[in-house]
């Protein structure tokens, strides 16, 4: 719950005021998300905003292409928007939301500020799947090929999580420290295998590295549908567990003593986060930083209560990734940077700024 310091000591807590403040935050974030998506769609080599090279079109023409289908512009204008730009922005939003939400859940389950959606091995598992798909030529098969990489990445990510989870469970109890270390060890092992494959990959290595740094360039309506479904399901499950997650932050025993089924909650969160993350990563590669930093940032802004933190972090993750991707494809147009580089470059310094500021203020936000 985010509270400001009262002027006098016995002012106490104004319940309604706190709720109002939260509502304002959520409304602002929803408006921000819609606005960001709208603007991001217009940014690009073919669009009214952005590099404008090789082709500049006016706002009017862009809206014409988006809303009226063809109009008097060439056919491919509409296609650029409806088949490339719009799915890409939607995918960015869904992936950003999924990663931020999964990161929030993992930080609560592990009670560790370094936890992120990849902590139980999702990224290394997915990478291995993707690399195998590329190198074995499965990805090059006609029609089915485009879905081979995501499918293999998704499957191997979930398999990895299953192995890590199995290692972390003893006698029906989930030991988060064991889980964390198993995750690190398994990730290191799979990472080595990926490196080994890359070493022998020859010319393919550039494509693999690009995938591992994360990119939204493979966006398609199929990807949007799959990731949105996984993200919505996951976000709903995490959100309805908000109060339980709050209790879990005080330790498993305390959570149990407050009537929370800690074991069930941990398992549910691990599964939900793994599915969301694996679905996102399967289509975009490993986009780091969003799932680690966004929950922290929002915790500094709205407080640690998951009832506001989960929706706020989810919306912010979506906004953040939309902008990061927009920058990634605009800075060195007509080519693009891997979005993972942008997320780290922008997010890091801003997070450090918040961290310092907050240490200095030193009061409940």
């Amino acid at each position: 719950m985010s509270l400001s310091r009262p002027d006098t000591e016995d002012e106490g807590v104004d319940f309604a005021k706190v709720m109002r403040r939260r509502l304002v935050w959520l409304v602002l974030l929803v408006v921000g998300l819609v606005a960001s998506a709208f603007v991001a769609v217009l940014v690009g080599t073919l669009g009214p905003i952005g590099p404008g090279d090789p082709e500049y079109i006016s706002f009017e023409e862009a809206f014409g292409a988006i809303f009226h289908g063809q109009g008097d512009l060439p056919d491919y204008y509409a296609n650029v928007f409806w088949e490339v730009r719009i799915p890409r922005v939607l995918l960015a939003a869904a992936v950003g939301a999924a990663l931020a939400c999964a990161g929030t859940a993992m930080q609560a389950v592990f009670r560790n500020p370094m936890a992120d959606p990849f902590i139980v091995g999702v990224s290394s598992g997915a990478s291995l799947g993707a690399v195998v798909a590329s190198l074995t030529g499965l990805a090059s098969i006609a029609v089915l090929g485009a879905l081979m990489t995501p499918t293999l990445a998704f499957a191997s990510a979930l398999l990895t999580v299953f192995v890590v989870y199995y290692l972390g469970v003893v006698g029906g109890k989930v030991y988060v420290n064991t889980l964390l270390l198993s995750g690190v060890a398994v990730a290191a092992f799979l990472g080595a295998m990926v490196s080994l494959l890359i070493y022998f990959a020859g010319q393919q290595y550039h494509r693999i590295i690009f995938w591992m740094l994360g990119s939204l360039s493979m966006a398609s309506w199929t990807a949007v549908i799959v990731v949105v479904l996984a993200a919505v399901l996951g976000i709903v499950l995490v959100y309805i567990s908000s109060r339980d997650l709050n209790a879990l932050l005080l330790g498993e025993e305390t959570a149990h003593n407050l009537g929370v089924d800690a074991e069930g909650l941990k398992t549910l969160m691990l599964v939900v986060a793994a599915v969301m993350t694996a679905a996102a990563v399967a289509f975009t590669g490993v986009i780091g930083f969003v799932g680690l930093i966004i929950p922290h940032m929002l915790r500094l802004v709205v407080g640690a209560d998951h009832r506001i933190l989960v929706p706020a972090a989810t919306l912010s993750g979506a906004i953040f990734l939309i902008w990061a991707d927009t920058v990634a494809r605009a800075v060195i147009a007509p080519t693009e940077l891997p979005v993972g580089i942008i997320t780290a470059l922008c997010g890091g310094p801003f997070f450090l700024y918040l961290l310092r500021r907050n240490r200095i203020l030193g009061d409940a936000l």
Partner: protein, 418 residues
């Protein structure tokens, strides 16, 4: 709420932590769980809370086994206050207390209601934590934090509080504050309290009953007076204690000593002439130095009489507030005869106990080595018009050894032994 622990045994792997523990807790009782480290206190609390799963039907709540109840049901009956609580996450004190309302929500998905808000405010006002409501929990002091956790327990509206050494990290003031608060909740709202406590005296002062665990067994269960006796404590903790009554509360008051009756390590005996509480340190230091010690004549109720009794020193006793009788004096001389040294400690001398000074004179006459402890001349411990001082002077002139304090006395005696 009646809680029955019935033949509760619990093991971690091969290690048996609780062994056939059986006791009942009546509604509204204040129970202290005591015992050395590793005796199973915390495990017992966790079994009651079903955080560790005890065998079926070994923990019964109003006759129903706790195994069959969900953690949410249990959380409406019990509220737990751990030793200390910390979180790195930025919860306000208010958020922490609101978590106490979790077991009362109408469904898993329900947010806090106005009723919850009212319960939280009431709990925080009751525990005097409302003024920190908006402060960060982790920025509060240990005592403030513990009070916030108790507020959470109160907001939980439990039938019983389970506390695991709630005062262990608090200073004396914080300890009493927290214990008083718990006692008030216990008395005013009839909330049953089961608390692990390490401090024997805190336990004696606040608890109706004490359950003393030793190595997983329930060694004793009953009122503080019944449980906290020197023999039981010696057998459970392996330390010697002196048990007295707190002069103001009449609660049992326990003073621990690493070892009280070290027992004579050599055959040398010292007879100590004392009274009025002056003798206690002399008895202890002589015992620690390995001497056999006897004392007399002491009036029953004199604090030196109690000192001697607690140290199990042979004593010649006289009726309370009576002058030393002829027969007591003779018994005293008999003890002098069995001793090698006689120490005349600087006790106040009045008409009733002047005979103890005369006993020193007799000892000198019998050829015993007499040591006279006189801090300074005329310290005003002679209430018989100078007769005692006169005897002392005579003693010294006839060869008794004058020393100025206890350390000198020990040095002198040790030299005599060597």
């Amino acid at each position: 709420m009646k809680l029955e622990i019935k033949g509760l045994s619990f093991s971690f792997g091969d290690k048996k932590v609780l062994k056939d523990v059986t006791f009942d807790v009546e509604p509204g009782e204040f129970i202290g769980l005591m015992g050395p480290n590793g005796s199973g206190k915390t495990t017992l609390l966790r079994c009651i809370m079903n955080y560790l799963n005890p065998p079926a039907d070994s923990v019964l709540l109003d006759g129903v086994s706790t195994n069959t109840q969900s953690s949410e049901d249990l959380a409406r009956t019990f509220a737990v206050v751990p030793q200390s609580s910390s979180t790195d996450f930025t919860f306000s004190a208010y958020d922490i207390v609101m978590m106490g309302r979790l077991p009362h929500r109408s469904s898993r998905f329900a947010g806090p209601t106005m009723e919850d808000a009212a319960a939280v405010q009431e709990a925080m006002e009751r525990t005097d934590t409302w003024k920190y409501a908006t402060r960060r929990f982790f920025a509060l002091s240990g005592g403030e934090r513990q009070r916030v956790i108790i507020a959470r327990a109160v907001a939980q509206r439990p039938k019983a509080l389970l506390l695991d050494e709630p005062t262990v990290y608090l200073d004396i003031n914080g300890q009493l504050e927290v214990m008083d608060l718990i006692k008030t909740l216990n008395k005013e709202q009839g909330i049953t309290v089961i608390s692990v406590l390490h401090d024997v005296n805190l336990a004696a002062r606040y608890c109706d009953k004490i359950a003393l665990l030793s190595n997983g067994w329930l060694e004793a269960y009953g009122s503080p007076v019944a449980v906290l006796n020197p023999d039981t404590i010696q057998s459970v903790y392996g330390v010697d204690v002196v048990v007295r009554k707190d002069p103001f509360t009449n609660a049992v008051y326990v003073m621990p000593h690493s070892s009280l009756a070290a027992g004579p390590r050599h055959g040398r005996r010292v007879h100590l002439l004392c009274g009025g509480g002056v003798g206690g340190p002399f008895m202890k230091s002589l015992l620690d130095a390995g001497f056999g010690v006897s004392t007399g004549v002491l009036n029953v109720l004199d604090s030196d009489f109690e000192n001697a009794r607690d140290l199990r020193i042979p004593t010649v006793a006289e009726l309370p507030f009576s002058a030393i009788s002829e027969s007591a004096f003779r018994d005293n001389i008999a003890l002098v005869r069995d001793s090698e040294f006689v120490v005349l400690s600087p006790f106040p001398v009045g008409p009733g106990n002047l005979k103890n000074v005369e006993a020193a004179k007799q000892a000198a006459a019998m050829g015993k080595r007499v040591i006279v402890v006189r801090p300074e001349e005329g310290r005003g411990i002679d209430f018989v018009g100078g007769r005692a001082d006169e005897i002392v002077k005579e003693l010294i002139s006839s060869g008794a050894i004058p020393v100025k304090d206890m350390a000198d006395m020990l040095r002198e005696i040790s030299r005599g032994v060597a």
